[in-house]
Symmetry: C2
Subunit: 176 residues, 2 copies
DNA sequence: GTCTATAGTGGGATAGAC
DNA sequence: GTCTATCCCACTATAGAC
């Protein structure tokens, strides 16, 4: 019963996530959230310390949700398909998370690290594995973000492109 | 001697490219270009049909330059290193070209296609090779854009991550 | 080809009443 | 926790004089 203020912030953050997807990243802002909430813009300042704070809450939630989704993915195929599905389920949030400078001071501590750790752990925790883990992440990210930004021809067989990634990374784990 | 107007447009576009890199994509606009050119913003409308036209000119130039750079690259290693160096030489232009919705009606006809064709041709022109060519492009793009957006730890060995890409793609061409 | 003047839009943000 | 009122800023864009 004590932390009802926090509940309101959480509810507004969830609404903001929906607005972000429906309006698009470029049209998103305090005004868009206020309109959707049926509230005037200045009211939001009781719950967020400005736009950067709101974006930080959304991004933190995104990292936490990604880490949680990857938790249950074992094996390269599950990893790749989970990452792909998770990103495409909320493409505008994915763009917000990855396609602009990241103000880490606005994030919940550990949120980004939790997601990154899950990514790196797909290949073991040894530092020697990191270049391969990072390049695999970049590969998956490239496939996802180019699709979100509509850079592939409409007839491109993206499933086939993902299969190349899966087969390649599977080869790495088999020979480790 | 006839097309001096066009010369001015070209010079302003070149200046805009420099401003884009020094000010960053978010701070770029007609005002930034006007300040750099020592001119008032409305004057630019004699040379560009608004901001979208200016951005289209920059993006077209970027695609043309990329196609030209890839022209001389033969083999996977040369391809990868050329792409990487070209993107990182003008990171803000690369972001402008790849990280937002692309208004193709504002581009010089064929500019995007020329660059994309060079990318696909790295693996031959058969449609069966396209999934592999596209996934390789996405991979290279992911490595470049995550570095530009500062998403890798500062101690990450990116050279090693690129070597994984090169070794993998080399394997594809050897077994074709 | 450049200028001044101006209009319009949209956004973020603060102060203070209720 | 929400409101009104207000301010500030930045940018795009047009009209018309020089």
């Amino acid at each position: 019963m004590t932390a009802r203020i926090s509940d309101r912030r959480r509810a507004l953050t969830a609404l903001a996530g929906a607005v972000l997807e429906s309006e698009g990243l470029d049209a998103f802002g305090l005004g868009a959230l206020a309109r959707a909430a049926g509230v005037k813009t200045p009211s939001l300042y009781k719950h967020f310390d400005g736009l950067a704070d709101l974006e930080g809450a959304l991004i933190s939630e995104g990292f936490t949700a990604l880490a949680s989704a990857l938790e249950g993915a074992s094996g390269i195929r599950a990893f790749a398909e989970t990452y792909r599905a998770h990103a495409l389920a909320r493409p505008q949030l994915y763009r917000l998370m990855t396609s602009r400078p990241l103000d880490r001071s606005r994030l919940e501590p550990g949120a980004e690290l939790a997601a990154m750790t899950k990514l790196l752990d797909a290949f073991g925790e040894s530092p020697a594995d990191h270049p391969r883990a990072r390049t695999l992440w970049a590969w998956a990210h490239g496939l996802v973000i180019l699709q979100i930004d509509d850079r592939f021809p409409s007839d491109a067989d993206l499933d086939a492109s993902w299969e190349v990634l899966i087969a390649t990374a599977d080869g790495w784990t088999r020979t480790h």
